[in-house]
Symmetry: C2
Subunit: 249 residues, 2 copies
């Protein structure tokens, strides 16, 4: 018998080979599981709402972890943070998981944020936190382009070649583009996403923002249902897994 | 004859031994002057509004640079950014300096921001950008403590031992404490500051925020006019040189 905890994590994607444990390299999952082993003395299985790629950050990733016995949740948070200290990751909150909770399968909605730094000079303090686009971007045109993607569609155009989802159909609940000073923020909401869907949509909207594509070209790309019809993939350092929603309980 | 330009710079203090050129190590000044030499083929003298310490960041440092001939200001900005690329610093703006302009001596007001991350879990994405204080801070008490420091005073209590200013008297125009989510922001405005004055004031206000000092103890510390009467020095990674004002011209 193990006891399941729900964890909310922040991490810097530059420090990891992504969420998922692999044969070589430090993943967020391996850092978390190794810390749990040191703390509890036993192997601890984990799962996460999203399996972020190398370089992608998280502001509020939700994971579950199965520990060999019950601890005070704040002890879990502090102990995991203590043992993960060398890595750029922290547990922000820990709580006992509700009955039947699974970080991935119980998720009702996932949210991503993409930050573009749109300024003639390069970013400095946010160098590894944004995508630098020096050409002025037209956020109104990007908003028009994004509108074509909202809804239930076959997103094959925005799907990575190695995507393991059975179907290319997803329902994109929102894709909004907003200028915040020198930054363009793109926020996406969906029950789930295809592999690299957000970065592929962002790379396409950037083409629109630069005036190289018209907003309606996004619709043409979508209905082409072929990756080659879409824009380039935006780099990972601008992408943040922002949050997840679950049913209350 | 040289031509003087006014530059606005952003830099990450973690990448430098501070503003000022020294015999060993990379300073912001040496990175800037080395870039100017590569670009213009001649030595270029520089000066800055503030000589920040090792580890202190700048959001908007103003410097001047004397180049051997006149260039288009945007060429100056781009060329300096190109040659400074290995270092975490960028020229945000470059313009011809007004007649008689000196980045240090013409400054009328300097502004600093200090960021405290006040959360039980450690900062991740902002790990090198904030001071982590895990105990809850009372920002209202800190504001009361700060009020004792605003105005014209002998700031010996908040002055580093190696401060080269002739007088310990300064006029602090503002010192405001504000909670922004999980952060406490402390903003200071003055014509000029003593060496480490902001970090020493912040370290003192943190004692008040934790309830270890009463707000009135800040006044007692001030009138003691001795560094030993003040709180500890806050670490450099939370401090940002935020901006400078000059007379229009």
């Amino acid at each position: 018998m193990t006891v399941r905890y729900k964890l909310t994590l922040e991490y810097d994607g530059a420090g990891f080979i992504g969420w998922q444990r692999q044969a070589v390299g430090v993943s967020v999952q391996s850092a978390l599981e190794d810390a749990a082993l040191k703390f509890s003395g036993a192997e601890a299985a984990t799962g996460a709402a999203g399996r972020t790629d190398t370089g992608v950050h998280a502001l509020g990733m939700v994971a579950h972890i199965d520990l060999v016995r019950a601890y005070d949740p704040d002890t879990v948070r502090k102990a995991l943070n203590f043992y993960m200290k060398p890595h750029p990751v922290a547990v922000l909150e820990a709580s006992p998981a509700p009955e039947g909770f699974h970080a991935r399968f119980s998720a009702l909605e996932r949210r991503y944020l993409y930050r573009i730094f749109n300024h003639p000079s390069p970013p400095v303090l946010d160098r590894h936190r944004v995508w630098w686009v020096s050409n002025p971007l037209d956020e109104a045109a990007m908003t028009q382009g994004a509108a074509h993607l909202i809804g239930h569609h076959d997103f094959s155009t925005f799907r990575a070649g190695d995507c393991q989802a059975k179907s290319p159909f997803k329902t994109l609940d929102d894709l909004c583009v907003e200028r915040c000073g020198h930054e363009i923020h793109i926020r996406a909401r969906s029950r789930s996403f295809l592999h690299r869907q957000v970065r592929n949509m962002v790379g396409t909207l950037k083409m629109v923002g630069e005036g190289r594509w018209q907003p309606d070209d996004v619709k043409k790309a979508l209905i082409a249902r072929a990756r080659a019809a879409g824009g380039p993939t935006a780099p990972p350092q601008g992408l943040y897994f922002a949050g997840v929603s679950y049913e209350e309980g």
